[in-house]
Symmetry: C2
Subunit: 270 residues, 2 copies
């Protein structure tokens, strides 16, 4: 059973959206999470048609966010980029836009965190109008300098809480969250705000930083335990396999799909 | 003024203890933090004499810890290793042993964290007898899989709090802690338990994982702000420069000392 398995497109970074959709069909994967860049490559309308015709369901669109910037003009441009991402999600029929919040333009984490909160505020109404939910994804603290000043589930929940739980929630990625001593406590608090779950693994030694993720089962993360704790909050949605790994990117797409499905059964679901 | 600057020996990994002591003298650095391996290389008694005769003060000995292990026999061996480290600190006249707590032997973080707590408990009495304080150092979460299941200041304080504040406290390293949204709150809680401060910087891109640290000023950490917040709790002790970086290791020791002193003045103290 791959019922909850969603293929996040970055896992086969060098494949086109069409190749990914076809691989999902060949391997019986029912969900997909496309990225904006390959969608733009094929064209938004054509991508929407391709996915719709394939019968695949979309778990999320990756990704918006990156709110902090040094000037007001640049911050406004980031907001506009997010509004475009919301439009794209709506056109595709993606229920959810993943937000990777962005790094500080200088050393000031507090200011950058405030820019993130303000950015989400600025796009919330439009997201509601377009019926696209906003999934705030905390990243691992090793990305605090260059990708996200939001690095814990606690922070992501603090950001989501001012908004309607139908509109703003969190995306949980075991790679980003597994180390957190407050994880299980914060998961209980997250009940009703969990919009998505990403899985991969943390191998030792890590094969890279940005490309540091491994296939489930090849690392130290208690994936099944975390997934069970998430399900216990009431989440029963798709589980995206999102792996950035040079070796996986270099292999044939069907190998990746076979490994992914086997690892999903062996290490993620019961 | 380099008054609070302490030279942590790993910053010049390939230099002998004697070379490091002589460089401290040449450059007017008054503190040193030796590592156990180069101390053993020279011999404990000879190392103690060398440092004592040089007039250098010792800020800490690096390092003990690494408590979790798969079997009880191995855990007992780790305890014994820590007792030896305490003896070495006492012989050297080091007031403080730095504890890097260790990783989980399997995937179970909770069990490993309990092994750390139990390990500290097991060595506490002996440390008190030998008048060596125990400094629990939380490491960055990117080391959670292979070096330390203790990854936040909050956790380190929880571990220290059952013990006399003269005996057990925390070692703060800006590289390990800068990303934490709870940092300043936990620093206030840490008042009276801060046994040491380590500085380096987080450059983008990171030059490595284990060897990912850069000279102060070359990265994004608000070092001076963090140092001020630490001083505001009442800490006025030495500040160790602890940098693991292949490029720095490859350069002449006097270059490293000059850069270190300049960066310390420019980016750490007022």
């Amino acid at each position: 059973m791959t019922g909850r398995l969603s293929f996040n497109q970055i896992t086969c970074k060098h494949a086109s959206l069409r190749e990914c959709v076809e691989a999902c069909a060949r391997h019986g994967v029912g969900w997909i999470a496309p990225w904006r860049e390959p969608v733009a490559e094929l064209g938004l309308k054509e991508s929407a048609r391709l996915i719709r015709d394939s019968g695949l369901r979309i778990s999320s669109l990756c990704r918006g966010g990156f709110f902090p910037a040094p000037s007001q003009a640049e911050r406004r441009a980031r907001i506009e980029e997010n509004l475009r991402a919301i439009d794209e999600a709506a056109e595709l029929g993606a229920p959810l836009l993943v937000l990777v919040c962005g790094a500080a333009p200088d050393r000031d984490l507090d200011a950058a965190r405030a820019m993130v909160a303000r950015g989400i505020e600025k796009i919330a109404d439009y997201a509601r109008q377009r019926r696209v939910r906003l999934g705030i994804e905390p990243l691992h603290p090793m990305f605090a300098a260059d990708r996200s000043v939001i690095v814990t589930l606690g922070q992501a929940l603090d950001l989501a809480e001012p908004f309607d739980p139908e509109l703003a929630g969190v995306i949980l990625d075991v790679f980003h969250l597994w180390w957190d001593p407050r994880l299980y406590e914060e998961l209980r608090r997250a009940s009703g705000r969990i919009f998505g779950l990403h899985v991969s693994d943390w191998a030792v030694p890590l094969p890279g930083i940005v490309t540091g993720r491994s296939m489930m089962g090849e690392g130290v993360i208690e994936i099944r335990r975390i997934r069970r704790a998430i399900d216990a909050t009431g989440y029963s949605g798709p589980i995206e396999v999102e792996i950035m790994n040079e070796k996986i990117w270099a292999q044939p797409i069907d190998d990746t799909f076979s490994q992914m499905i086997e690892a999903f059964r062996a290490c993620v679901i019961d």
